[in-house]
Symmetry: C2
Subunit: 167 residues, 2 copies
DNA sequence: TTTAATGCAAACGATTTGCAGCGAA
DNA sequence: TTCGCTGCAAATCGTTTGCATTAAA
């Protein structure tokens, strides 16, 4: 069961997202279709990391019939509208993975290469250094992808035990 | 025309790579085939960033007839052998892009989202912070992918001029 | 001799595209 | 009424796999 405050947060994110989408649509002379709203609703039902296939699943579960094609065609708009980000993470080779953007807050990822667990973190000092680096090479930084990959505590522990058992 | 010192560097990298591959093959009870050497030779003929298709092209250009399938099957080995890295960069959605590893030196990427130019950089301070972050969450850091995306100087300049012309 | 490696063709799976019909503005 | 949007089916395209054959060790 979803906790009340979480439910509220999801609802708020969804409301904000719809708002943004409307602005985006208006600003670009596009059309606000029920399919688009259905997609946004599904997206914000999902955990932060999701694929197009996940979105389609939720859409169907909610009784929607928006086609896969339409979802694909709209992901690009959601990105441009600032609702979601494309994620480049370690084990996302086949499908493109996306994540919500919550009130514009930025974070990076720490991925466990054993169990796949993903931790999100924000480290201001790293951001500052990145700006310095970009400036040093004459670039104006627009965005970045940082994926730290390693072995998480539990997995290290497990591997330690396994090694012990073996010997 | 390739400068002498560059040619020498390429040759050295290739020699070292072959060495490594032999070690890897031996250590894993695999076989050292002419196809594998052909692939490594092609890989080190290429610019640092390349795809499987690029490798195939060079192989063919050099008169080799190693199949695409075999190249695919061997890229994984080259990665494990420490000869190349998989790269996760901004505009590499469709194909997997790889890069050479030169004497184990590490670097990150700064990509221009307009012209696609890629600058490699190494920033020790960022690496240190990454270790801190990983440690904070109980992770043992194995590797990371950092891709800074922005607009490079020339592209900003060009856009500035275009805007002027328009107005 | 053993069995990993190769090449070909077929399979796959994610994403894209052509096109006819639909509907938001 | 216009023209962007949708759905379907077919097309793409990078990558993987099954299988018979070849060759390294």
């Amino acid at each position: 069961m979803v906790l009340p405050q979480v439910a509220r947060a999801i609802r708020n994110d969804f409301q904000q997202a719809v708002e943004r989408l409307r602005d985006y649509v208006r600003a670009n002379n596009l059309r606000y279709t029920p399919e688009r709203e259905e997609i946004v609703r599904a997206v914000f039902e999902l955990e932060t990391h999701f694929s197009v296939a996940h979105v389609a699943e939720i859409v169907r579960r909610q009784g929607g019939k928006t086609s896969l094609t339409t979802i694909y065609r709209n992901m690009e708009h959601l990105v441009r509208a600032g609702l979601v980000n494309e994620v480049k993470c370690g084990r996302c080779t086949d499908e493109q993975i996306y994540e919500h953007i919550h009130q514009d807050q930025h974070h990076d990822h720490l991925t466990c290469i054993r169990c796949g667990r993903v931790v999100e973190f924000a480290e201001e000092a790293i951001e500052v250094l990145q700006d310095h680096v970009a400036a040093k090479y004459g670039f104006e930084l627009v965005r970045h992808h940082l994926d730290l990959q390693g072995v998480c505590g539990p997995c290290r522990e497990r591997e330690r035990r396994e090694k012990e058992t073996r010997s």
